[in-house]
Symmetry: C2
Subunit: 174 residues, 2 copies
DNA sequence: CGATATGTAAAACGATCGTTTTACACCTGT
DNA sequence: ACAGGTGTAAAACGATCGTTTTACATATCG
């Protein structure tokens, strides 16, 4: 396998399951089967690696997100959460772990949030015929809240949030 | 001022604004105006201090939370967020920073989540006359989601979530 | 008065971290 | 055949962290 992807896959798995700070570069070197010299020749440092992991995670998440309608959106969130495990949004978690003080990481997190909100805004406009900011905020809250609450309530909370979002849109489209 | 409260207030401010890992014990000693010897005679260590901060935060949060109805619940969440700043739920953040590997901290976080869910369940039962788990999950998602999304969308998302929760309950009470 | 407790100031300890460096092996292309 | 790139293995570096310890001052109280 390609070195960059081997490194990236190991990093995403460890960062996600154990935490960014809890995963030292030593552990990463050991589990990726590479040497530290090679690792540091492929990425400038840990911060850059974290940013790369987040960028790849964003690509993979949006690639599987179905956006025809609200039902499909929350259904794919539920599938993602069941496949990956309910550990909360990785973008919030990295911000917590870095204290929001790492510019290259803040940039990726900001981009993710903008893209998520834009996607929901677009979905709302398509389903109701109008760009309703309040409605978009409500669905965004349900989306983020389902992700967060699923960590201790399980994935059923995602279905509950989905039903709520559908009611909202049905009422607005009427 | 009492030493324990001086220590606790400094710790909560720093942990909340800068992060748990980012705030070293050295910084805490300096800003509290105490000596490290005194600090370690009042708390067993950093983990115990973090747990204490979370317990106090939980007490303070629930003490100001109004629970007569959904409107009051979200109104007090908004006031809290505007007063304290929108940096996301501290209980999720500490879990991210510790990787969920510190038993004394997991205990406090778990207790907080149980208490929050029980509070919402009770509110739902009082407003609709029935213990509806799905409805409670929906309001919980709105609550957690508003807290999370407020970090990048501002406190207006809390008002949007509040309106949504009110609609849900009005429809269920009918 | 003298002992005990409790505080400060600051050095020191051991562990861990991210990163760099050294030493060496193995391909690859002209 | 040999120089240059790329890899491994492992030691080393400097910084920082949580925590403990030493040395000393002060106040309380039998």
């Amino acid at each position: 396998m390609d070195i960059d992807t081997r490194l990236l896959e190991t990093a995403e798995r460890l960062f996600d399951h154990e935490g960014f700070n809890a995963t030292g570069m030593g552990r990463l070197v050991r589990e990726s089967g590479l040497s530290s010299r090679t690792v540091y020749k492929h990425v400038t440092g840990k911060n850059a690696l974290m940013a790369k992991v987040l960028t790849e995670r964003q690509r993979r998440f949006f690639a599987q997100l179905e956006t025809q309608n609200t039902r499909a959106l929350f259904a794919s969130l539920r599938r993602w959460t069941e496949r990956e495990g309910a550990r909360g949004c990785l973008f919030f978690r990295v911000r917590a772990e870095t204290g929001g003080q790492t510019p290259e990481i803040e940039a990726v997190v900001g981009a993710y949030h903008e893209r998520l909100y834009a996607l929901i805004m677009d979905l709302v406009a398509r389903e109701t015929g109008a760009a309703d900011e309040v409605l978009a905020d409500q669905i965004l809250a349900l989306f983020e809240g389902a992700t967060a609450a699923a960590t201790y309530r399980g994935t059923t909370v995602i279905e509950a949030a989905a039903a709520c979002a559908e009611q909202l849109l049905a009422r607005a489209a009427r």
